[in-house]
Symmetry: C2
Subunit: 331 residues, 2 copies
DNA sequence: ATGAAAGCGCTAACAT
DNA sequence: ATGTTAGCGCTTTCAT
C-alpha cells in the first residue's frame, strides 16, 4: 500500500508538504496542494493509522463496554453513542462484558493498550476498572450504572423514582399485593428499582412483604424461574413490577404457562419500552428509559473530557417515564 | 505511561530482551524473564498498540459492518463473530452502515486506514466495497448477503428455500390468497424471499398475483404502511409472509389497527425468531435463521483467510427452519 | 542467550 | 511556503 513518500515523490514535493496538504494545514501553496491531492488519489493513498496514532500519541477511537449487545436497551445506547462519536470523527468499538468483571477488565486492557481516546462503561460494579483507567489517564464516562468509587462523569436514569411511580400507579389501579422482580443484588439498577418499589409501597401505605420480592439475572430464563416461584406461592401477588425488558419476556412466559392473564389476573409493569410491547394482549405497560439520549449525552461528555474542557466530575440524571397500557389497568 | 525502555532499565536488560520475554519467545533466560515480568508488573506496563501494529504491519482487529445494531438478527451475528474472534485474540469493531453505501464506504475506509486484519460485511449491495478491499489486499467475508462481484468468502442462509417452505406451509393450512411483504428491490435477501414465495405458490399451484406483494424498507414503519395497503384492498390476502422481524412488528401493528386477527383472519409467518414471538396471541410462526452460527462461521472463515491458509473462495449456505406456531394454523 | 541498531509511516519542530 | 530531520514505541535482524 502506498506510503506518504510515494505520494511525495509522485507530486515532486517533500513528505512534510504532503502531510500538511492532506491535513488541510494552512500555508500550503494551492497549486502544490492540488498536485498532492491528485497524486494521492492516483495512488489510492490512505494514511497509515497506526503510524499516525503512534506519532500523534492519540487515537480517534472510543470503547463502549456494555453487558450485552443483544439487550435492546444497550443497543439503543450504542446508537446514541455512535451517532455523536461519528459526527465528531470518532470510531466506536463495542464490547460485551457479559457482566463479568474479568471480561470487563480484559476490554479495559485492550482500550488502554490501543491507547483509545476514552471509554464508555456500564460497569459490572465489582472490579477495578475505574482505578485502572484513571491511573492511566484515560477518560471514562459511566452509563446506566455509577462507577464504584469514581471521580468520573456519570449518566444515569432515575430508576428509583420511576420504580416508585410505577408502583404507585399499580396501587392506584387497585392492586394491593404488588410484587417485584429485580436483578442481582449489588447491581445498582437492580437495587434502585427495588428501593423505588418499596418507596411506592410506603407512599401508598401498603404492607411490605419480602415474600413478594424475587431476584434473578437480568435475563429471560432466570426471570421465568423467579416468576414461577413468585406466582405459585400460597398468597401470590396481584401485580408485579419487572426490572428490565429481558426479564419481562421470562415473566410473561411464566404467566402464560401458569394460565395467569396479565392485566386481568395480575397487573404487570416492566422497565424498558420495546417495539413489541404494544403487540401483546393486553399491551404492556412500561417504564420507558431514554436510552438513546443516555448514549448521546455520555458520548458528548466523554468527548468534552477528551478535549480537556472540563475537570470537575458531573452526574447527569435523566428521567424515565411511565407509559400506561392495558397490562396494568384493571378495568 | 511506561514504555518498553522503562521496563528494560528497571530490569537491567535491553529492550530487545524485554520484547522477547513479554512475547514468550524461546531463548530467554528464565531468570531474566522473571525479572522482566516483575519490572513490567511494577510499572503497570502495557505495550503500546499503535507502535506494535506499526512495526508488525498488522493488527488484531476485525471490522464488522452491519446495517443496524438494533436489529436482533444482526446482534446475534455480532455475538457469533465476537465469540470466535475473541477466542482467537482478535477485537471486533462494530459499525452501522444503515444500509447506506456511503456510510459503508466510510467504514471500509476506516478499516483500511487502521490496517485492520479483515472485514466482515453485510453489503448494501450497491457500492464498490468489494473492489476497494481486494485492491488493498484486506480479506473480506460477506455475511447474510453476497458481495456484488466478489471473489471472497460468503456465508448465507438459504432464504429462498425457507420462504418457499413457509409459503407451502401456509398453503397446506388452507390459505389460498397468500401475500408477501418483502424488503427493497435489489437487496438479495428481499429478492430471494420473494422468489421463494413465488416458488411456493407455483409448487402449490396457486395463482400468482402481484397485487398481493408489497415492498418496504426492512423496518417496522415502512412495513406497517405496506401492510395497511395490502390488507385494505378489495381482495385482501388471507395470509402473509413477512421477510424480517422488524417488518413483522409493523405488520402486526397494522393488523391490530385494522382489526384483523393473526391466524384466525389472516395467517402470518415472519422471518427471524424473537424472544417475544411466543408471547403474542396467537404465537407467531417464524422462519428461524441461524444468526449466531452465521457470525461464528464467518469469523472462522475470515481468520482462516487472514492466516493465509486458503486461497479459493467458499460459499457457505446455512439453512433456516420453520417454527410453526399458531399464527399460521387455521384450526 | 543477549544487545545494538535499524526502521515501520507519520507529524512537527526547526531551519531556510 | 517548503524541506530536512528527529523521533513516537516497538520488533527484528544482525552481531557477539
Amino acid at each position: 500500500m502506498a506510503t506518504i513518500s510515494d505520494v511525495a515523490s509522485r507530486a515532486g514535493v517533500s513528505t512534510a508538504t504532503v502531510s500538511r496538504a492532506l491535513n488541510g494545514k494552512s500555508s500550503v501553496d494551492p497549486e502544490l496542494a492540488a498536485r498532492v491531492l491528485a497524486a494521492a488519489a492516483e495512488l489510492g493513498y490512505r494514511p497509515n493509522g497506526p503510524a499516525r496514532n503512534l506519532r500523534r500519541q492519540e487515537t480517534a477511537v472510543l470503547a463502549l463496554i456494555i453487558s450485552d449487545v443483544e439487550n435492546p436497551f444497550f443497543t439503543a445506547i450504542a446508537r446514541g453513542v455512535e451517532d455523536v462519536a461519528h459526527a465528531a470523527g470518532y470510531s466506536v468499538v463495542l464490547c460485551n462484558s457479559d457482566d463479568e468483571p474479568d471480561k470487563e477488565h480484559e476490554y479495559i486492557d485492550v482500550a488502554l493498550q490501543e491507547r483509545m481516546a476514552g471509554v464508555l462503561l456500564s460497569p459490572t460494579g465489582r472490579g477495578d476498572s475505574a482505578e485502572l483507567l484513571s491511573r492511566n489517564r484515560t477518560p471514562v464516562v459511566a452509563v446506566d450504572r455509577p462507577l464504584p468509587n469514581s471521580t468520573g462523569d456519570t449518566v444515569l436514569v432515575d430508576s428509583r423514582l420511576a420504580a416508585r411511580q410505577a408502583t404507585e400507579h399499580l396501587a392506584e389501579q387497585g392492586y394491593r399485593r404488588i410484587g417485584c422482580l429485580t436483578g442481582p443484588s449489588g447491581v445498582p439498577t437492580a437495587d434502585d428499582r427495588l428501593a423505588g418499589y418499596r418507596d411506592g409501597l410506603r407512599a401508598e401505605r401498603l404492607p411490605r412483604s419480602d415474600t413478594l420480592v424475587r431476584r434473578s439475572e437480568f435475563k429471560a430464563a432466570g426471570a421465568k424461574e423467579a416468576a414461577r416461584s413468585l406466582l405459585s406461592q400460597p398468597e401470590p401477588p396481584d401485580a408485579v413490577l419487572v426490572a428490565n425488558n429481558m426479564m419481562a419476556v421470562g415473566v410473561l412466559e411464566a404467566m402464560a404457562e401458569l394460565g395467569v392473564r396479565p392485566g386481568r389476573d395480575v397487573g404487570v409493569v416492566a422497565f424498558d419500552d420495546a417495539p413489541w410491547a404494544t403487540l401483546l394482549d393486553p399491551p404492556l405497560t412500561v417504564v420507558a428509559q431514554p436510552a438513546y439520549d443516555m448514549g448521546a449525552v455520555a458520548a458528548q461528555l466523554l468527548l468534552g473530557r477528551i478535549s480537556g474542557e472540563r475537570t470537575e466530575a458531573t452526574t447527569t440524571t435523566l428521567s424515565a417515564h411511565l407509559v400506561v397500557r392495558a397490562s396494568s389497568t384493571r378495568s
